[in-house]
């Protein structure tokens, strides 16, 4: 008896599974394995030296740190935006709703140039922050700003439908039982949207790790300070150091995969609890 294959009223399980695996292989697995094969050209010590050189280590810290911070920021403010869009009616709501998707559609280079122009020392926002001693453009903060910009829609678009599905009756029921609005939010609404929020966070985080275009303009790309890992890979490629580039890519892939796996497990666990 096989527990793997279950009889279903829907036909074509074998065909669908086969197609899924083929598709995943062509689009994801085979290109990724090429990265590992290319890396295998290096000896273990060469690989280790490339992947853990101080400049590369600093770039990991910046990429993952700024991505995490940006995704976290988006989780908080994206939730707020989704809340406002679902719960309130105001003039121009449709326009605001459409604006949310703009970071999806905008070529990332355009976003990078626009953000740099704004946050540079002589930009609209930059000139206000400069006297306060805050430099955004060409610092890690700039990287964080760019990654926050591109990640926002992921959180809003995953939380929004779940929030729309929450019946007002649930809140009324909680109020009738004596709960304050804060208690209702913390005990009823938040647990319900948490899995979706986590998904949005994971998507924003993953997107930020791989982001290149919008960051390189605003980052300034100073080694050890504001240099992201994807840029380092490009630099290596430009020097025809393919093995070195793929070595860094392998490390990045592995870390990303582990992080996303953890988030997925967390999600599975919270979804099971909330059913």
């Amino acid at each position: 008896m096989s527990t793997f294959k279950q009889h279903s009223v829907l036909p074509g399980f074998n065909l669908a599974l086969g197609f899924t695996i083929l598709y995943l292989s062509l689009i994801v697995l085979i290109p990724l394995s090429a990265v590992f094969i290319r890396t295998a050209e290096l000896t273990w010590s060469e690989f280790w030296a490339t992947a853990t050189s101080p400049r590369v280590l600093a770039s990991y810290r910046l990429t993952f740190g700024a991505s995490f911070a940006a995704a976290l920021t988006n989780a908080v403010f994206g939730l707020l935006v989704a809340w406002v869009l679902v719960r309130y009616h105001f003039p121009g709501k449709r326009i605001v709703d459409a604006l949310i998707d703009l970071p999806f559609a905008l070529p990332t280079a355009v976003a990078g140039i626009a953000l740099t122009a704004l946050y540079a020392g002589n930009g609209w926002i930059g000139q206000l922050l400069e006297p306060l001693g805050i430099k955004v453009a060409f610092t890690p903060i700039g990287v964080y700003v760019a990654l926050t910009f591109i990640g926002l829609p992921f959180v809003v678009r995953t939380v929004q439908p779940v929030l729309e599905d929450i019946e007002t009756e649930l809140e009324e029921a909680a109020a009738m039982l004596g709960a304050s609005q804060l208690q209702t939010f913390l005990r009823i609404i938040f647990p319900t949207i948490f899995p979706a929020l986590l998904t949005g966070f994971a998507l924003a985080f993953a997107r930020a790790i791989g982001e290149y275009g919008s960051v390189i303009f605003i980052a300034g790309n100073m080694p050890m300070i504001s240099e992201i890992t994807p840029l380092l890979i490009i630099t290596k490629l430009e020097q025809y150091d393919f093995a070195g580039a793929t070595a860094i890519a392998v490390v990045m892939l592995t870390i990303s995969f582990i992080l996303l796996l953890i988030i997925n497990l967390l999600q599975w666990w919270s979804r099971r609890r909330n059913a």
């Binding site: 019946e167 009756e169 649930l170 009324e172 029921a173 909680a174 109020a175 009738m176 039982l177 004596g178 709960a179 304050s180 208690q183 005990r187 009823i188 647990p191 319900t192 609890r273 909330n274 059913a275």
Partner: protein
């Protein structure tokens, strides 16, 4: 706790949901708000709960004005049609919710909460489901849990909005009798909204019949069924036959048939509508004594102890069939088959002069 409603009105845009409602609900009573959809019954319930604010008028709890009181301070339990259970909590935590969100100074100890919740779950006979989640329960079970949750905070008033509306017929009936028994044990002032007249008549102490934002009649189930105040209540409560005729000096005329109508002694040749319940019509094969209406049998439904006949009356203007209910014995005596000619006579009728439809 007694409730009094004074001159309550509420508009939704141009739609008048409630028009000058006045109502007294006695302490410990089980009251049904009955009406078709859009009659304002749910709005009235929600105003009493504090979930909706009225445009004008007052709601008094124990003679104290509660109109501006916050939902949390009203001590009202509310049961929703679609249960509104918290999906992310176990059954136990759902019932305990109202006790856990109390301000720290008057919150019960964990031990006491546990005891009270367990007792409530036993009361609704579902203590074995304490650790399940709402989605693992059937509709009937969910509604019983919703009731236990509402009772956990020891409300002074219990409000139920179409509590059995989403359940199938069998479960509805079970829960109905169960609710009646529960109310008899606890004597908590309860109001429930329903559009099902059978449910309202069977369960409640008193029925409030509503239509288009107004109260049409208030009374015990017997009163509203046997002595409907107006044509609307007549038509809304149970099957009824309409006859168009005239009333003149204490006699009603439907076709050639005359029936005594002493309460209309002063009427001078007025057009009138007569309402007759299906079981208040006599059926015979021949005219005995006085005149009777002639009709023929169109349909016979003989399942159960009561046989339902549908009769067509020759000169009935609106062409609608006449519904008649007779006992099985009488049906056997008459030996009726489809197409037979019969003579019918209203045994009892209610006349509403000038209420022409």
């Amino acid at each position: 706790m007694s409730i009094e409603i004074r001159h309550l009105s509420k508009q939704f845009g141009t739609f008048a949901a409630l028009r000058d409602i006045n109502l007294k609900i006695h302490s410990g009573e089980l009251l049904a708000l009955l009406g078709p959809s859009g009659s304002g019954k749910t709005t009235l319930l929600r105003v009493i709960a504090g979930l909706e604010t009225a445009d004008s008028g007052q709601v008094l709890f124990n003679n104290e004005d509660a109109t501006s009181q916050h939902i949390r301070d009203r001590q009202v339990g509310f049961v929703f049609q679609h249960y509104a259970l918290f999906r992310n909590m176990t059954i136990f935590e759902n019932v305990a919710f109202g006790l856990r969100v109390r301000p720290r100074q008057n919150r019960l100890k964990d031990q006491e909460i546990h005891e009270r919740v367990t007792n409530l779950l036993k009361l609704v006979q579902l203590d074995w489901l304490a650790n399940r989640y709402p989605h693992q329960l059937s509709g009937g079970q969910r509604q019983r849990i919703a009731l236990a949750r509402a009772l956990a905070v020891e409300p002074k008033v219990l409000l139920l909005d179409e509590p059995f509306g989403a359940l199938d017929a069998k479960v509805r009936k079970e829960l109905r009798t169960w609710l009646r028994r529960l109310h008899d044990d606890m004597h908590i002032t309860s109001i429930f909204v329903t559009h099902d007249q059978e449910e309202a008549l069977e369960v409640s102490d008193r029925v409030v019949v509503m239509n288009e934002g107004r109260i049409e009649q208030v009374g015990t189930p017997d009163e509203v069924y046997e002595r409907p105040a107006n044509p609307f209540v007549y038509e809304f409560l149970g099957h009824v036959n309409l006859f168009h005729g005239r009333v003149h000096q204490g006699r009603a005329w439907i076709g050639d048939v005359a029936i005594d109508a002493p309460e209309h002694a002063e009427a001078e040749n007025l057009a009138a509508v007569a309402y007759v319940r299906p079981h208040d019509i006599e059926v015979d094969r021949a005219i005995n004594g006085e005149s009777a209406l002639s009709a023929h049998v169109v349909h016979i439904l003989s399942v159960g102890p009561v046989v339902r006949l549908e009769l067509a009356h020759q000169d009935n203007q609106n062409k609608s069939l006449i519904q008649v209910e007779i006992s099985k014995e009488r049906f056997r005596d008459l030996q009726l088959v489809k197409g037979d000619q019969v003579f019918i006579k209203p045994r009892r009728l209610d006349l509403f002069p000038h209420q022409l439809h």
